[in-house]
Amino acid sequence: MRLTDDLIATDIAAYLEKHENKSLLRFITCGSVDDGKSTLIGRLLYDSKMIFEDQLASLEADSKKVGTQGENIDFALLVDGLAAEREQGITIDVAYRFFATDKRKFIVADTPGHEQYTRNMATGASTADVAILMIDARKGILTQTRRHSFITTLLGIRRLVLAVNKMDLVDYDETIFNDIVDDFYAFADELATDLEIQPIPMSALAGVNITSRSDETAWYEGPALMEYLENVPVGDRRLSTSFRMPVQWVNRPNLDFRGFSGQIASGTVKPGDRVKSMPSGKQSTIARIVTADGDLPEAVAGQSVTLTLADEIDASRGDAIVTADDPTEVSDQFQVRILWMNEAPLLPGRRYLLKIGAKTVTATVNAPKYGIDVNTLSDVPAKTLELNHIGVTTISLDQPIAFDPYDANRNLGGFILIDRMTNDTVGLGLIDFALRRASNIHWQAMDVDRHALAEQKGQKPAVLWFTGLSGSGKSTIANALQKRLFALGKHSFSLDGDNVRHGLNRDLGFTDADRVENIRRVANVAKLMSDAGLITLVSFISPFRAERQMARNMMEDGEFIEIHIDTPLDVAEQRDVKGLYKKARSGEIKNFTGISSPYEAPQNPELRIDTVNRSPDDAAEEILDYLREHGFLGA
């Protein structure tokens, strides 16, 4: 406890040397308000002198005003941070608390117990080394105890404290304690085979077995809670010892330095170690471990470093640098467990973004094979996953990734799912194993129709019909737009007079009849591309309203976007990039739109682009904004 250390007053320098080298333990507390969870945390903070006088004064005032402990301090008020929580007397979100003893610094994730806040509990559990499960000695193991045990072990915690609280209310009865412990062991066998469980009888309110063992439970021979927390080993002991580091950032200050920055996920690394960059599998040797404090002779799991390699191999963000002796597997299809964390249920077959380490890919999540009832741990049939549901399913990615099974390495086997439209984090997943052959996947019956094809590309198909005089800038703007679409990862194709007339329409001339046939064919091609889910850019003079209407009628509602590149004749003629106007004026070219053939300007185009006062890039941006606003570009 910090105030108990005389060194603070007598020799601060010595105290600080001693305390600079503490270890750090992160733990989570699970339970509801009734179990005394908040009381326990308040007690830990209070006993380790982490509550200051001004905080204590406001706590005492609040306790009298809204507390549930009569004249006593209501520690729950200390930890319920949000106004809504204090008013409703419930805990909604994870609160992080900090305290330190002479041995350790602690970070406590105080998590809500109610089922509807499971995702908040998952947030807290995902970074914890130990879980404290609060149990009311009068009630024993409840459904929620089972749920909390399941969620915490699912997120990878293997050390559990069974905190049998409120022992004061059952006269510190050993038999009651033992019965509860036996109940829990029977149940815990189904959770995982490698759990380390420490049952402790306690009274958080009375301070029994919190900081030291108390006389009230003379029959109990185990550690007090604080003794346990100060001595339990830190870290995930199942973590693979093989070196892995996801590349977060490629460090290139100049042409002579190329480093790969990241946080080491597991194992250790030294200069001279043989490594591979995954998924490419290219091999090299560690040259240096660079940090701002100088090069290191060795780096270990948890450190954020920058590695340089002896060979110029191409690794980029999202790749993993791993030991060549035991590289990760690489696959694009997996069996996974998923915890769904969004109000909108999982849509099987839909494409979600999947982020694992520093890598983000697109994933199709198939319908669950089965769900898991978190209260009974039994398998239940499931067609989808709803908020807080857990299921086993398969996923397939748009590209292969480096991974370890989650149970071997939570840093390389855990991922989040992101909805591409709302950008919400909708689920978390754990990789169990790769499906070696595509035929192993049980694909859900799903017709590969135009919607599926578009969904796969993360966009809505559209036909962008650029119409305007020769030389108005149609192709230039379409080109600028297509570059932007490409950069955004959208799938598009450009049809223009020049590329179509040389092939498909080379039998057509420039008579009115041929112009109509030209447009009919181009519209049909655009329609097919639209069915394939593409954003198609059609740049044709297309001077007649009737033909543009025909093209519009062929497309699905809302997919035809008429863009009038409204450049006045005199401006287009002045530009005359291809020298066509000159030839038309001299009579060398017949039926030239605007000179010897009419142009019927659109009456209600979706977009009208003035090119006199703006650049093609500005025009492309305007069209891009339109597409974005109308949902053509997905998330």
């Binding site: 105030l3 603070i8 007053a9 601060i12 105290y15 600080l16 600079e20 080298n21 503490k22 270890s23 750090l24 200051f52 001004d54 406001s58 930890v79 319920d80 941070g81 949000l82 106004a83 809504a84 204090r86 909604i92 609160a95 992080y96 900090f98 330190a100 610094k105 970070i107 995702r119 947030t123 995902s126 970074t127 977060q248 950032w249 460090n251 290139r252 200050p253 920055s261 990241g262 946080q263 250790t268 701002a292 060795e298 270990v300 948890g302 450190q303 954020s304 982020k355 694992i356 380490g357 520093a358 939570r410 840093n411 989040i416 992101i418 709302t422 950008n423 984090t425 978390l428 974005r628």
Partner: protein, 300 residues
């Protein structure tokens, strides 16, 4: 095999967070308030990208009432580190003559700080802004994610926080939204001091005790830093050995009487003290949930 200490683990986590923002966010900025937490955050940013420079600028929202020593320190530090520094002042507030003595702490802070910050973020269209807030500072901060999302109006919705699993951060935002990122979330005040000591990080001298002219205003000792203090009040100034536990606008920052003139003495004093850090800030005492309310309104 080297064992990581708690400071090593905190540092590594912060470096990971800072790099993740640089790698994924379109237009990030680091809010630099010139205080000790900002000093640590800047130090971590320099480390995260070494030997490169951090690929984002620093920004200071200057309320025009900061201690003069802070401004000097800010400009010198940014130059030394080779960082681009953007300084934003709410000119509307300046035109209206807003100040803590004339308008009180609430109006001054809202106009010059909260509105000023929103203006600056809108002006430069930053999609992510690093802040030096810590979870141990205040109850609503204890519940905030490391990546905390703000609507186009800069509002925080505590009921719609995204789950934050492992160290896999979802940095995606919708049009107009932005992220506040807190790389020091898991640091405590003591961690900050210990780290400053371990790394030899330079901080503004105001943190160290010295003889300074102070007056008592609304029950708090504040320093006479310039001639904008009302004459009646300035007349009452006495010299005292004081230091500051947090730094902000000089009329809103309470001095504590102290003789702690070295880092070790400051830490010693802090460990033996019995009041929490934010007590010196006039801004928080209004009501217990005031920070939560301010955050919802866009105060970082």
């Amino acid at each position: 095999m080297p064992q990581l200490t708690h400071l090593d683990r905190l540092e590594a986590e912060s470096l990971h967070i800072i790099r993740e923002v640089a790698a994924e966010c379109e237009n990030p900025v680091m809010l630099y308030s010139v205080g000790k937490d900002s000093a640590v955050m800047l130090h971590l940013a320099m480390k995260a990208f070494y030997p490169s420079r951090p690929p984002f600028p620093l920004m200071h929202v200057d309320t025009t009432w900061k201690f003069r020593e802070m401004i000097e320190f800010r400009d010198r530090k940014a130059a030394e580190m080779g960082m681009d520094l953007l300084v934003h002042i709410n000119e509307d507030g300046v035109r209206e003559g807003i100040g803590p003595f004339t308008h009180g702490s609430a109006v001054h802070t809202d106009v010059m700080k909260t509105q000023g910050l929103k203006q600056a973020l809108d002006k430069y269209k930053f999609t992510a802004a690093f802040g030096g807030a810590r979870r141990d500072e205040e109850k609503s901060r204890a519940k905030e994610r490391i990546f905390s999302f703000r609507s186009a109006e800069h509002r925080w919705d505590p009921k719609r926080q995204r789950p934050e699993i492992w160290n896999v951060y979802n940095t995606r935002i919708n049009q107009g939204e932005s992220i506040r990122v807190f790389p020091l979330s898991n640091w405590t005040e003591l961690d900050i001091w210990q780290y400053i000591r371990r790394e030899g990080i330079e901080i503004v001298p105001l943190y160290f005790a010295a003889e300074r002219p102070v007056v008592n205003w609304n029950g708090v000792d504040i320093m006479v830093d310039d001639d904008r203090m009302p004459e009646e009040l300035a007349k009452t100034a006495v010299m005292k050995s004081v230091r500051f536990r947090t730094l902000g606008c000089y009329p809103l920052t309470g001095a504590v009487e102290s003789t702690a003139a070295t880092l070790d003495e400051i830490i010693q004093e802090m460990l033996l003290t019995t009041t929490s850090e934010r007590q010196g800030r006039v801004i928080d005492v209004d009501q217990s949930a005031s920070m939560e309310k301010k955050k919802q309104e866009g105060y970082f």
